[in-house]
Symmetry: C2
Subunit: 340 residues, 2 copies
């Protein structure tokens, strides 16, 4: 894929229209093998589903998770100046430096998962525009950010985790979710980094102002991203697209990542079939969003950090599913009596 | 600990009475450090709780998970002959051979978690007695099995996962749970390896017969184990005791493992404070049991395999908690602005 040529909405729409479907042959082979493995039928439950999903979207059987990548995109938001976050937007850059120095949670979680971490810093000195005053991004900026996100899907990767860092981006994500699935600011706004009371009310108002200003555009996912999104959120949507084409299954992280990816559903109802949601964030909008997109999380541990932390934490679960499916003996191989 | 001298109920009761408490100093040090790490307060939620729990029960700060061990105990049950399982009891031995050959789910899950696997085969040619006719074990047999279970806690281990293999042992576990926490056979009996209908009704009746026969003994946990338990279940209770003394935190696996460990609560209400429940089994009694003992599982993926599979799957979660706590930078170290 030539990501340069993808840097227009027209080209992005062509890519979305050409999304490959599930590999039914690999899915069939996974189902066939699963029935012979030395365990009662269905006893590994969600792990069996994951093994099937991996085969279906890697397009091979047996599937494997040998080279997982964690991609964290960082961007800044104009709405951060409206008092919607507990932290100033300088923290975005400071946390990028922390990622680079190995001191953040995501560094430890990648070490834990034996995953490759890449951090993509997206013009942090050029925040998006305040979406209450106009579109957050121009079409060119949004398309370029999506195309930039595609570069994280390099050859050899067999699982992609997407995450973000961006002060005020739960405000942007809440606005995207409301634009996609309905509801007002108060339905989607949550504490984010830890706001409450009057500041939380202010956050909901900011979202409502953005929704009111851009409502005419909400029949189109890319327009929703342009009007209400951010560089890092657009990049996540682009990464999810590139992963589909390259047959790399995706673990979505928390609220912001899931909201970012969800814009693709306007173009293609199956656009996120190659994605699992790794965890359910404590940010209350996430559970609502997961209901809206019909995805059950793998983990539910109350986390609300972003930076791909929930996705990275779930990598060993996904790898375990692949290992069980490919490594277990069949009843016949092991000489174990099967009731069937 | 001299496990030979532990091979009587009197000696086991002395060990239970001397259970060490939490290491408050390590807990305090964990709480102090946690507040300075580069994330919003509480954003890692359950991972923060796990890091504190590890420090509290390893008795050191920072805690670490470098040498996790998975111990699977296998035993056979007299009640297997009453038609309570989908499989014949020969499958216990066959599955032990499968563990030894590396072909079972637990082998793949230990590889995934970089954990050491030990399988303890407990006189498979001498099943327990049918508990509807008399106690499953003599006091000597039960005490010896508990003492045998203690040997899995070898020096250097810093996390212990306990699991089991034993055809018909969900019948035994259901009886133990009913004896400990009340209710009848039908309240605790579930499909186990996959039974239903008349066979499930039969399983509940077998449990009720065992409860009726031994009810006079239910004020004592060790007696409950002796009357209704099994070699592998007694060994799990012993392993959990040895881990407490050696300051090794424990991950309990599914329904059978949790029921086995729960008998210790009769002697000491805090006897399982050094244990987390790794996952909630699809075996319906497990959720009820977790409510009874007041423990929230780490994972809830619909699994119902036993053989320590849920516990081994959760090791990377626990290790991640330790790595985040010890490896993350503080706000001061990373030069990140903190709102506080």
């Amino acid at each position: 894929m030539d990501t340069q040529s993808a840097a227009s909405f027209a080209e992005l729409r062509r890519i979305l229209a050409d999304f490959p479907g599930p590999d039914q042959e690999s899915a069939t082979r996974a189902a066939e093998r699963e029935g012979h493995l030395t365990k009662p039928t269905g006893a590994l439950a969600r792990l069996e589903e994951i093994a099937s999903w991996l085969a279906t979207w890697q397009g091979r059987h047996p599937a494997a998770v040998n080279h997982p990548r964690v991609a964290v995109f960082a961007g800044n938001h104009g709405v951060a100046d409206l008092g919607v976050s507990a932290y100033p937007k300088e923290v975005t850059q400071q946390m990028v430096l922390n990622f680079q120095a190995g001191g953040a949670a995501i560094n430890q979680l990648c070490k834990n998962a034996d995953a490759d971490l890449r951090v993509y810093e997206m013009c942090l000195d050029q925040p998006t525009k305040d979406f209450t005053q106009g579109p957050a991004l121009s079409e060119e900026e949004a398309a370029r950010a999506m195309a930039y996100g595609m570069i994280c899907v390099e050859p050899g990767i067999d699982l992609l985790c997407v995450g973000e860092m961006g002060i005020a981006n739960t405000t942007s994500a809440s606005a995207i979710a409301a634009a996609m699935f309905g509801g007002a600011g108060a339905d989607w706004a949550g504490p984010g980094t830890g706001i409450k009371g009057a500041q939380l009310t202010r956050k909901a108002e900011v979202i409502d102002q953005g929704l009111a200003r851009h409502r005419a555009r909400f029949n189109d996912g890319l327009e929703i991203m342009r009007c209400l999104g951010g560089h890092e959120l657009a990049a996540i949507a682009g990464a999810v697209m590139a992963a589909r084409i390259a047959r790399v299954p995706v673990l979505l992280d928390g609220f912001a990542s899931t909201a970012a990816a969800s814009v693709l559903l306007k173009s293609h109802p199956g656009a996120l079939d190659h994605c699992l949601v790794a965890h359910c964030s404590a940010e209350p909008g996430h559970r609502r969003l997961l209901t809206a997109i019909g995805k059950a999380p793998l983990l539910d541990l109350g986390m609300r950090l972003g930076e791909a932390s929930g996705a990275a934490l779930a990598i060993p679960i996904v790898r375990a599913a692949a290992l069980c499916h490919s490594g277990m003996a069949t009843f016949a191989e092991a000489g174990v009596s099967n009731k069937e």
